[in-house]
């Protein structure tokens, strides 16, 4: 999920969450955990980590993924960057309190040239940047990622689509979400129902000059009774609680209508017959050994 600001049509819209907020940080820590679990681990698709010593996490938020990499792999030096100073302060405090010496964090804007030397990293990771990036902004970011990767280095992008579920209210709230992003030009979709980022990830990587581009889908069961149900339930309570001001502004609902949907979503998700699936996709590619930067 995205945590940034966007200037659109001359208007500054808070987009989509307040990055200074403690509740946003609580949500993102929870979100990182459930998604990492759902994807089978931090670097699940990387069979061989022997050449991975320096890792960069782009738009790391409070550092959930980076800290988990640091905990699991003492031999890896992981760096997280985010535009939010508050997020970076918080991530640093988390690393210090846990004694993770191999994790560091820096304030950096992913829409600007990244302040790293060429070939600085063995692997660059990002998750759920779709809300921050307009379609036309991806090529510059991916070119920068390619520049800072060593030849043969790996990029992995993980993005999501709206979940499908038996909760009418959850589905409606997600529709408000995809419609808002469509209206704001933050969607690859030709309609208001999808984000469509997963469909274009491989093309984005190929167009940026990465090779051996592959993808791996993650279909996460968020149904009642699953081990991480509580985490997903909590995630949606956080997301649609925090996104309320933004969605009210963009979707044109009354506060009462929104609250009714929000309560209904919670009631429907708590029912023992609630079922849902959430689809994530990781696309990965390699920087050619003889790449021209």
């Amino acid at each position: 999920m995205s945590t940034s600001s966007s200037d659109l049509s001359g208007r500054k819209i808070r987009f989509e969450f307040d990055t200074e907020s403690g509740e946003t940080m609580a949500w993102l820590l929870n979100f990182d955990k459930i998604i990492t679990n759902g994807m089978g681990g931090t670097l699940a698709e990387q069979a061989d980590l022997s050449g991975i010593k320096r890792v960069l996490d782009i738009a790391c938020g409070p550092g959930g993924w980076a800290l988990e990499v640091a905990r699991e792999h003492l031999e890896i030096e992981v760096t997280g960057i985010d535009i939010s100073e508050a997020m970076i302060r918080f991530a640093k405090a988390l690393a210090t309190s846990r004694g993770y010496d191999n994790a560091s964090f820096k304030v950096m804007d992913v829409k600007q040239p990244l302040v790293f030397a060429d070939a600085s990293f063995d692997l660059v990771n990002e998750r759920t940047l779709y809300g921050v990036m307009a379609p036309g902004e991806w090529p510059q970011l991916l070119a920068e990622c390619k520049r800072i990767l060593r030849p043969g280095g790996i990029i992995r992008l993980t993005e999501l689509e709206a979940p499908v579920s038996t909760s009418l209210a959850l589905n409606e709230l997600w529709y408000l979400h995809t419609r808002a992003f469509y209206k704001l030009g933050r969607s690859f979709s030709v309609d208001e129902w999808h984000i469509c980022i997963n469909a274009v990830l491989k093309r984005l990587l190929r167009d940026a000059g990465f090779q051996d581009v592959k993808h791996q889908g993650h279909v996460i069961d968020i149904s009642a009774g699953t081990a991480d149900f509580e985490g997903f339930f909590r995630n949606f309570v956080y997301v649609f609680g925090l996104a309320k001001p933004f969605l009210l502004k963009v979707a044109g609902l009354t506060e009462q209508e929104y609250e009714r949907l929000y309560q209904q979503m919670q009631a429907e998700m708590l029912a023992s017959d609630f079922c849902g699936l959430w689809t994530y996709l990781t696309a990965r590619g390699e920087k050619p050994a003889e790449a021209q930067v």
Binding site: L29, Q263, E268
Partner: protein
């Protein structure tokens, strides 16, 4: 079961290949040497024994005790060399929790404050995932003929393996039979360092739990409940970890409304049935919350999830209070 010798404890620790590699790397010894220590074929030099204490901070207290039994002349350092950052709650954490307190709508405040605080506490208290559960047990509202608090509801919590990540999925009522109940009744932190420890403190040990702390959540001498922290490691709760737990319990005062803090004389906990007995009653807990919310919505008088949960907890307390004596 606690280990009976330092060799046995070390053997258990290095049974995990990753942990074994970490110990080997940090000690700078050959893996074969480590195995010979465990088997008793070689006696380590004193400096290596002291280094073992440094590289195994989580097991330090238990290991130090076993080493002193085996090597009475060994000088064991006091353990004051824990990095200072690990012994205090960062100012940044206070800032973020306080921000939730002031900026979050009241209906989400308990949930958000407690969730962030528990995530922070768990990360700091168990950074290497040795195994920990951190739960909040909140006072049920006064009820019954005497209008006293009869039990605590375990309604928020998280864990690291082998515990589940989310412990709300295991709701439970705790009473006078529990460590939590004892801490709330006496009004101060209580610790049990091992199952073998003979104390007068009541405890109903749960699976994987080898040591535990319960610490009340206080505000102006009144109590809202307590935190219960369980570890898979005997002797895990060194003084600095107890102080950390007290600090996190202080932060959790921000999760509770003023009227949820009660005077000590209002607390008269009953015996609650065992978790196994309670499980059958809580199996439909979420469905009951869902039903209440949907019914209220149909009647055009919607209620929040917090309101629905409170009603279900009160109903379950009444049902279980009638069982307590016969099924304890």
């Amino acid at each position: 079961m606690g280990a009976s010798s330092w060799r046995e404890l070390l053997g258990r620790i290095i049974a995990d290949p990753q942990e074994k590699q970490r110990v080997v790397n940090e000690l700078g010894v050959n893996p074969i040497t480590l195995i010979r220590w465990v088997k008793g074929e070689v006696v380590p030099r004193d400096e290596n024994l002291r280094r073992l204490l440094e590289v195994l901070p989580a097991q330090r207290e238990a290991l130090a005790q076993l080493l002193m039994e085996a090597f009475p002349t060994l000088v064991v350092p006091s353990g004051q060399d824990t990095p200072e950052e690990a012994t205090r709650v960062p100012a940044e954490f206070y800032s973020r929790v306080l921000n939730i307190y002031v900026a979050t709508p009241p209906e989400r405040r308990f949930w958000s404050v407690s969730d962030l605080t528990i995530q922070l506490a768990l990360g700091q208290l168990d950074p290497n995932y040795l195994g920990m559960a951190f739960v909040i047990a909140q006072c049920m509202p006064p009820a019954g003929a005497t209008h006293k608090i009869r039990s605590l509801r375990q309604n928020a919590g998280r864990g690291t393996p082998p515990w589940n990540a989310y412990l709300e999925q295991e709701p439970l009522l705790l009473g006078a039979e529990s460590l939590a109940g004892y801490a709330v009744t006496v009004g101060h932190l209580v610790v049990q360092q091992s199952r073998a420890e003979q104390t007068h403190v009541p405890a109903r040990w749960v699976e994987w739990e080898e040591s535990a702390v319960a610490c009340p959540i206080f505000l102006g001498g009144r109590i809202a409940g307590c935190v219960v922290v369980s570890s898979t490691q005997p002797g895990y709760f060194l003084p600095f970890r107890q102080r950390l737990i007290e600090k996190y319990a202080e932060l959790l005062t921000l999760a509770c409304r003023t009227e949820e803090f009660y005077a000590l004389e209002d607390i008269e906990l009953k015996l609650m049935p065992s978790p196994e007995v309670q499980k059958a009653y809580f199996v439909h807990y979420r469905q009951r919350v869902s039903d209440l919310m949907q019914e209220a919505s149909r009647r055009q008088s919607p209620i929040t999830i917090a309101q629905a949960e409170r009603i279900v907890w009160e109903d379950l307390e009444t049902e279980l209070s009638g069982l307590a004596v016969s099924h304890y």
